[in-house]
Chain length 240, copies 2
Amino acid sequence: MHHPARTLVNVTARPIPEASVARLPVYLRALVDMAERGSEMVSSEALATAAGVNPPKVRKDLSYLGSYGVRGVGYDVQYLIHQISRELGLTQDWATCIVGIGNLGQALANYGGFAERGFRIAALLDSDDAKVGQVIAGIEIAAFDDVERIVKEHEISIAVLAVPAAVAQDVTDRLVAAGITSVLNFAPAVLSVPDGVSLRKVDLSIELQILSFYEQRKVAEESVRRGTARRRLESVDPTR
Amino acid sequence: MHHPARTLVNVTARPIPEASVARLPVYLRALVDMAERGSEMVSSEALATAAGVNPPKVRKDLSYLGSYGVRGVGYDVQYLIHQISRELGLTQDWATCIVGIGNLGQALANYGGFAERGFRIAALLDSDDAKVGQVIAGIEIAAFDDVERIVKEHEISIAVLAVPAAVAQDVTDRLVAAGITSVLNFAPAVLSVPDGVSLRKVDLSIELQILSFYEQRKVAEESVRRGTARRRLESVDPTR
DNA sequence: CCCTGTGAAGAAATTCACAGCT
DNA sequence: AGCTGTGAATTTCTTCACAGGG
């Protein structure tokens, strides 16, 4: 197995499609599980099953990273873990801060998911004086007013936003001004950030509403099936 | 303004693309904000700005629901709110349960986002006897073992999963067996559900890893710009 | 013979550009 | 004149199918 020498990060190469990037963490988690269970090699089929996708998609996605598999054999689990981690930038650790230490902010601070892969919570920020000084998950809450100093001091690049929707944009503007370049937004608000700043959102109520849409369809289809409309010939799926 | 009479839900009509469905809640939130501020009409451009997308996308998405706008004028805010709500199934209320009342489960229970649009928390479930009986957000935690009875009694169709990854699949299987038809998964695990059951996931650590990917690209591009890049040919070590 | 890697085909989503109605 | 609604063009994503190397 010999692989071409590659630079640290292939910035110049053909970019990895966004949809593929979003699946890499899923593969990574599956691979880590497999490694823990002692697997040394894995096929695209096995990885696909573990990741909830289909084999061609796994192969295509992995092919964007390079030719890391062995034809006729599969992928080396450890080696793939290493390559995906590197591509995702997980070989370094990232300093993050959580902004807004209410219910959700506290739950996030206590959540183990951060440390899991090199995301260090360097600061908790809140603008409520009553909260400043309290210690959550071993970290003292700092005043949001000190954001510029704190971001610089800890070289924080990623902020997790758990503030009320009404102030989310203002807080974001201030974070960006302080040097934050990635924002993960939990507030139910549409944010705008300048070019060069990454933004992703997690929105409980949107997810519920999407589920509601399909839930309603099921109910409607059910009543159709029960008589209002013509019969629908359902082909039997032998795999179920 | 007259609109064609339509059936309750257009199950038979051309289906709305998934990507469009996922944006409807965003439009809805923006429209509700506008209504609160007293707007009566809105153009696709204004709605696009508020929703963080572009005008043609708004028009295309809304066109799947019907011809609810007025050429040369725009869309009636209240009327659009009504139509989108109906299409999303938000005119009825949905009974939900939260499963796993740890840090995150508690935060979700206390979060206002549920009631916001007709998602009633009908039950909190946990398998830890020490938690059963405790009251969170005015709701008594019930034993997960009673899930079948509780789901039936409250006609719960949507479950929010906040259990440890290790048990997520087993818990899901049991929920589905109890009659749950939609699952919103917060556990960092790939779940599989039978056809006819909807599944969406919210995964903090995946989102952070995606941000990390783009963050790393920025750093790399920065160093390319400064001329420091293209060094370090990594000798590849399969065993790390 | 097995499983990866990948061009090519196909499907889905987005954007364009303009006809059509008010 | 202004803004929607939508076919057509374009881009992005997925799947296919098979060549290619172990």
